[in-house]
Symmetry: C2
Subunit: 455 residues, 2 copies
């Protein structure tokens, strides 16, 4: 029987995003948007997207296979597999069951777990479920595996440049280099229609962008308040942003991440809990002390002032986690963990002993703030090996740039393909790396067939 597990968390990670991408600057020009609207206004550099040969199932097949191979994990050693996604291809059959193909091959069908659903939060729910399983009485000593996979596409209009696509896999078990601080967790969940997908036949969501941003910031405030309360109860001292080395946010677009960190700074200022708010900052923020909560979410002046005073801390504590979200776009459930991957990529050798605060948000809404303690770990489950395996630079460099016209043409084809049956794809895997799974056919009964690029 398994002994009581300690230091449960993330042992290993891998990330996959489609090699097909479009530059935000080119999109800006094509859309006739003012210069900088997407690159500075949204803070985005580039966007990945699935062509007709990729989808959330193929991406997750690719990412899971890659993780198992690169960390030399025997598929029989997986006892739980959880998927977080909001990209629905089938309303009943889980993405997890598609992934079972990889495990059935070697005779392992005894794998718990299904799909978790709530917008961009499903991956966090899947992660918590896997960690809890390892810590529960029903744990059988094997690894958990979490998959976050999404393709974010939007109808023509202002939300379109906030798309993206990726799959992330995380191996869960004891003695991890990325350990959960299980008692530090603040959630905020509420019934809101900020972003949702009620038009079942369409892949596109219904979005109220302004409302969603306010909901995100309100949920952030609420989660941070609870997180601080739990910290104080546990540690006997008050928490401020100086108590964590890094802050990683769910990133629909980078500008919201900038605003979010500035908001935490403002929260600390309001709670008067932070020695790092100097005289200059105090003076700059003083005029906003009297704003109501609602007013404070709408005030552009406050936003500017806080971003300005928080800039230096943002560069140190947040910027290292922004690479992939800025380069790939919103990956929904994978977004937060792609941001965390960026941190491992940028800072892997110096992360041991650091605390990372994570903020997960899913519209509708569900949000949690939680934290990790990082340790170097033992190869292959070490921070530096995770960074090596993920090879973020290599993956970013080997991408293929589409023109905005080709990108739009691809989305048009995908609109027809979504929910359709009885078609074959071009089977063109020329842009994909060896080992990548791709969609070849959907038959007359909607059954989907995939192939793996050899090499």
């Amino acid at each position: 029987m398994a002994s009581q597990p300690k230091d449960v968390g993330i042992l290993a990670m891998d990330i996959y995003f489609p090699p097909t991408s479009v530059q935000q600057e080119a999109l800006e020009a094509h859309d006739g948007a003012s210069k900088g609207k997407y690159t500075i206004g949204l803070g985005q550099d580039c966007m990945a997207f699935c062509t007709e040969v990729e989808d959330v199932i193929s991406m997750s097949l690719t990412a899971v296979t890659s993780l198992l191979e690169k960390y030399k994990i025997d598929p029989k050693q997986i006892g739980r597999l959880e998927v977080g996604s909001e990209t629905v291809i089938d309303k009943s059959k889980s993405i997890k069951t598609f992934l079972m193909q990889l495990f059935e091959e070697c005779g392992n069908t005894d794998i718990e777990g299904v799909d978790s659903t709530n917008a961009c939060y499903g991956g966090t729910a899947a992660l918590f479920n896997c960690v809890n399983w390892v810590e529960s009485n029903s744990w059988d000593g094997r690894y958990g595996l979490v998959v976050c996979t999404d393709s974010a596409v939007y109808a023509e209009g202002p939300a379109r440049p906030t798309g993206g696509a990726a799959a992330i896999t995380m191996l869960i078990g004891p003695d991890a280099p990325v350990v959960f601080e299980s008692k530090l967790r603040g959630s905020h969940m509420s019934h809101v229609y900020d972003f949702y997908k009620p038009d079942l036949a369409s892949e596109y969501p219904v979005v109220d962008g302004k409302l969603s941003q306010t909901c995100y910031l309100m949920a952030l405030d609420s989660c941070y308040k609870r997180f601080c309360e739990k910290f104080e109860k546990l540690e006997g001292s008050s928490f401020s942003i100086s108590d964590a080395d890094y802050f990683v946010f769910h990133s629909p677009y980078n500008k919201l991440v900038q605003k979010s960190f500035a908001r935490l700074y403002f929260d600390d200022f309001l709670r008067n809990s932070s020695s790092f708010v100097d005289e200059v900052a105090r003076e700059k923020l003083a005029p906003y002390l009297s704003l109501s909560g609602d007013e404070s979410y709408q005030s552009r002046d406050l936003e500017k002032a806080t971003q300005q005073v928080a800039k230096q801390l943002y560069d140190a504590k947040v910027q290292p986690s922004t690479l992939i979200p800025k380069q790939v776009g919103n990956m929904y459930t994978a977004s937060l963990y792609a941001a965390f991957s960026s941190l491992l990529h940028n800072k892997n050798s110096s992360l041991a002993g650091k605390r990372v605060v994570m903020f997960s948000y899913g519209s509708g809404l569900t949000a949690t703030m939680f934290s990790f303690q990082l340790r170097e770990g033992q190869y292959p489950f070490s921070l530096s090996n995770i960074a090596t395996v993920m090879d973020v630079s290599g993956k970013l460099k080997s991408r293929h740039e589409f023109t905005p016209e080709n990108f739009i043409q691809t989305l048009k084809l995908m609109e027809h393909r979504y929910g359709a049956k009885d078609f074959v794809t071009s089977k063109d895997s020329s842009l994909l790396s060896p080992g990548t799974y791709y969609l070849t056919q959907v038959d007359s009964l909607y059954r989907r067939f995939y192939a793996k690029k050899s090499g």
Copy 2:
């Protein structure tokens, strides 16, 4: 901080099903089916269904409110809320967020959990997640709440009489009357297209009835094999059906439950593990010893022979759990727990000290066999109080019978309403009991509005 929880399981339950129903016998006659096709062939008596004022959200609002009120649970005492469902109304926003309305009212928004999805298995996934949470380091001492809610409807044809609708709620915590035997758990998960919902605009599934039945029985065999292995490892003795007092099955239709128990009997016979297989039974089953696995799933003669020899044990160990599934129909995620509710209803005073084996199946496919130990428990969390609160007889008695014509007319209206926007319902709550939530409107932005019947 919370102390190490013991005997984690189900503390309390409630069930809701629509009062609107149609008799299978009447449906048989209306459809021109041979007499007994639905009542004996499927083994079903009656079927509940949602009219235009009910859906999976309203049913779960009703069931959660009812549980909190009847067991006098302060909504602030809920720390996790998980929903299992395969009835998709929104592809991104979880049903859980709709339920948050009940908790926001009293200021509790710190509630983890989202929706779990894989066909009829989502409820079991949600239940396991909640139990694991209570046993994990991140548990904060509060209760978990599991909701299984589904509306099963089928296109015209042979599957239509296998519909049903219900919502079940289960309160999770330590010192429960229904305790998980956490180490006894056998899962079988695989990639199959037996029943799925790829036509996103339609509420109806794509079903291969014959394949689904074979998948169910194969998964049952596989889970039972693993369950027995784990039992033997843990207890040092072999397991047979005589080691459990009751067997509760996911029930798409009762006939499959009969076949399933007979299959377990046959498995025991094959493993030669059961003293209860007497000379007569042995002789009856001997001709089938040489069948391959595949052949054995298809053999009608074997089916008849095993059902015959297992009849007495079926009546004792299975029949008490079949009431609600036979009367209400397939409730998808709620089906297994409605069967368990039937057992509590029928046998509550005599259940202390008994072991119940549960078999959960979700097409696609995911399946787990697990078990409970029952204890009388302390009021209000006692087996007898759960039976009293659920009031199964009362709810069954106060139903309203629709003619087949009215039932079909209702489904036609619902076909148009599924995924639609910008309509108001009749707001006719006359058939609903006081305290029942119902749908009043879906606005032009697809936002759904509900009211609660006063009384």
